[in-house]
């Protein structure tokens, strides 16, 4: 290849590249767009809501990203995301953010289905998680060591669980640390002596499909979606969309849509509890 040939080739290549980028940039600017980041529990639900919203509003794009509640809060604060997804109520020190509840979720203690224990008091749960009770015999079960499954730092299920038991994470003596709900269910289903806690919706779904786990009542209230809805179940949490300022235009329209009756079937399909918005 002679010198001029290779130069021509390079020129054509660069031209194509620039044209392509120009075209991309135009397409990028043409549509209305929202970016959401945050909780991996909320992301699949909001993803489905976004899809329905897009079909009802052609030209609008809702990009749902994930990464965890803390990330959602950070991204919303620094403007990377228009809306954050948070799977708990906002804390008092997280001021300046606007939260909009789109669904409720309960957290249930789960055991393996073959475990003889059918109920644990709050104190017994505290003793198991802090390592004071280490054998199922002490709480009426078989003679076997308890495997304590805890959630990873930064998970909002962990925060909610600790808040309910009035414990600090450093007091917990876990044998296994897990991330997401299905992982917790798989861990307990695979170990007859494990105890863990996961989202009620996910646990109910898997238990109905024959996964060997059972949900324990808390404070005498059965862990069911119905009890989360009527507010009697003690360990439940709101799933929120958050914004850094009063939502405007597209963000406001999407949040209103996510809280409307039009999305209740989607919330139920993800095993969460829809909220009534007046």
């Amino acid at each position: 290849m002679s010198m001029s040939d290779s130069k021509k080739f390079l020129l054509v290549f660069i031209t194509c590249f620039v044209l392509e980028f120009g075209g991309l940039a135009c397409a990028y600017a043409a549509s209305e767009r929202l970016v959401l980041t945050g909780s991996s529990t909320v992301a699949p639900l909001v993803g489905e809501m976004a899809r329905r919203f897009e079909t009802m509003n052609p030209g609008v794009r809702i990009d749902v990203q994930t990464g965890g509640t803390s990330r959602g809060i950070n991204d919303t604060r620094n403007g990377t995301a228009d809306i954050g997804m948070v799977s708990r109520a906002l804390k008092p020190d997280e001021n300046g953010l606007h939260a909009f509840t789109i669904a409720l979720d309960g957290i249930s203690i789960i055991l393996h289905a073959n475990n003889r224990v059918t109920a644990l008091s709050k104190q017994q749960i505290i003793d198991i998680y802090t390592g004071k009770i280490t054998n199922w015999r002490s709480v009426g079960g078989a003679d076997a060591r308890i495997t304590v499954v805890n959630k990873a730092e930064g998970r909002s299920t962990l925060e909610l669980f600790l808040h309910y038991l009035e414990l600090k994470n450093s007091q917990i003596k876990p044998h296994a640390i897990i991330g997401d709900n299905p992982q917790g269910i798989k861990t307990v289903a695979g170990n007859p002596n494990a105890i863990g806690y996961v989202s009620i919706g996910a646990a109910e779904y898997e238990a109905e499909r024959g996964v060997p786990i059972k949900l324990l009542p808390l404070d005498g209230v059965d862990a069911t979606i119905a009890n989360v809805r009527n507010g009697t179940f003690p360990l439940s949490r709101p799933l929120n969309l958050i914004t850094s300022r009063e939502p405007q235009e597209l963000a406001r329209r999407f949040i209103e849509f996510a809280r409307s009756l039009q999305t209740h079937d989607l919330v139920e399909a993800q095993y969460f509890v829809p909220v009534e918005v007046n």
Binding site: V35, S40, P44, D63, Q65, T80, P182, I185, G201
Partner: protein
């Protein structure tokens, strides 16, 4: 006499033993692959269909297919390979052909590549998010995901290509210059084709790593499962989809199996094609 026969029998026995151990380890390695494949096929084949490949996902992936995810994955891969290969291979040519082995500059480049090769992928993900997505303003997009992957591929592609070029015997180079070929001509017509199978093997390693990547893409190319319109759209990679289905979606196991089966088949196809191509190139350029 009796003793000699005894030693002989012992030697035969020892050889048999070593032979057995070698076969056993070969079997063990194949068994791991076959076990994974059989497990994937058992879990996913029932869910796999033509519709699964051409439909978009519905109900967070529990129903529908993986078409947009396949397209995003291939686009990310394309961006990564097209960016990384020219840079990596030119670096390798420089290191192997134009710089002496004990040259300080060459050593520095090689050292930095080795360090880069050992960096965990989530670090690349955070770097990609900070640099491509936020600093360069590409946002969550296939482009920033692909460029992040390209950074990850650089060390693999460069080291394998350099090793491949170094295995080409020096007699090729001396014969070429004796025939009056310039270094560039020798490189294009002789040395690169001779090293092609190794280059292809390196490329395959890279593609395999890129296709399997989850952590680096979570914060760069993102989580959106829509069919991408352009490279600036966010697009979910197949490995990320599998991770999400098995970790975040209750009841997502079966589609996760089916998606994994697609991923593994894709890898196998790319492997076979690239090997064929590399051997063909070598034969056409050198053997005839």
């Amino acid at each position: 006499m009796h003793e000699v026969r005894n030693t002989h029998a012992w030697q035969i026995l020892r050889d048999r033993g070593v032979q057995f151990l070698i076969y056993a380890s070969v079997l063990l390695i194949s068994a791991v692959f076959i076990w994974i494949l059989v497990d994937l096929i058992r879990g996913g084949i029932a869910h796999l269909s033509w519709e699964f490949l051409i439909e978009p996902p519905r109900d967070t992936g529990r129903a529908g297919g993986i078409a947009p995810i396949l397209v995003s994955t291939l686009l990310i891969l394309l961006v990564a390979v097209l960016t990384a290969v020219p840079i990596a291979w030119t670096t390798a040519i420089l290191l192997a052909e134009f710089v002496a082995v004990d040259n300080a500059f060459g050593k520095a480049v090689r050292f930095s590549l080795h360090v880069l090769a050992g960096v965990p992928s989530i670090v690349f993900g955070l770097f990609g998010n900070a640099f491509f997505s936020i600093y360069l303003g590409l946002g969550f997009s296939i482009l920033s995901g692909g460029l992040t992957l390209a950074c990850m591929l650089l060390p693999i592609l460069t080291s394998t290509a350099e090793a491949g070029l170094r295995t080409v015997p020096n007699t090729y180079r001396t014969s070429a210059s004796a025939l009056g070929l310039t270094r560039t001509a020798a490189l294009i017509h002789l040395i690169l084709p001779a090293a092609a199978p190794v280059l292809a093997a390196g490329l395959l390693l890279g593609i395999g790593r890129a296709l399997a990547e989850t952590a680096a893409l979570l914060f760069t190319s993102g989580y959106v499962e829509r069919m991408p319109d352009s490279l600036l759209d966010s697009g979910r990679a197949l490995a990320l989809h599998i991770f999400d289905l098995s970790m975040n979606v209750p009841g997502g196991d079966t589609p996760a199996y089916a998606s994994s089966l697609v991923l593994v088949s894709l890898l196998l196809c790319i492997n076979i094609l690239a090997m064929k191509f590399a051997h063909g190139l070598q034969r056409r350029k050198i053997m005839t």
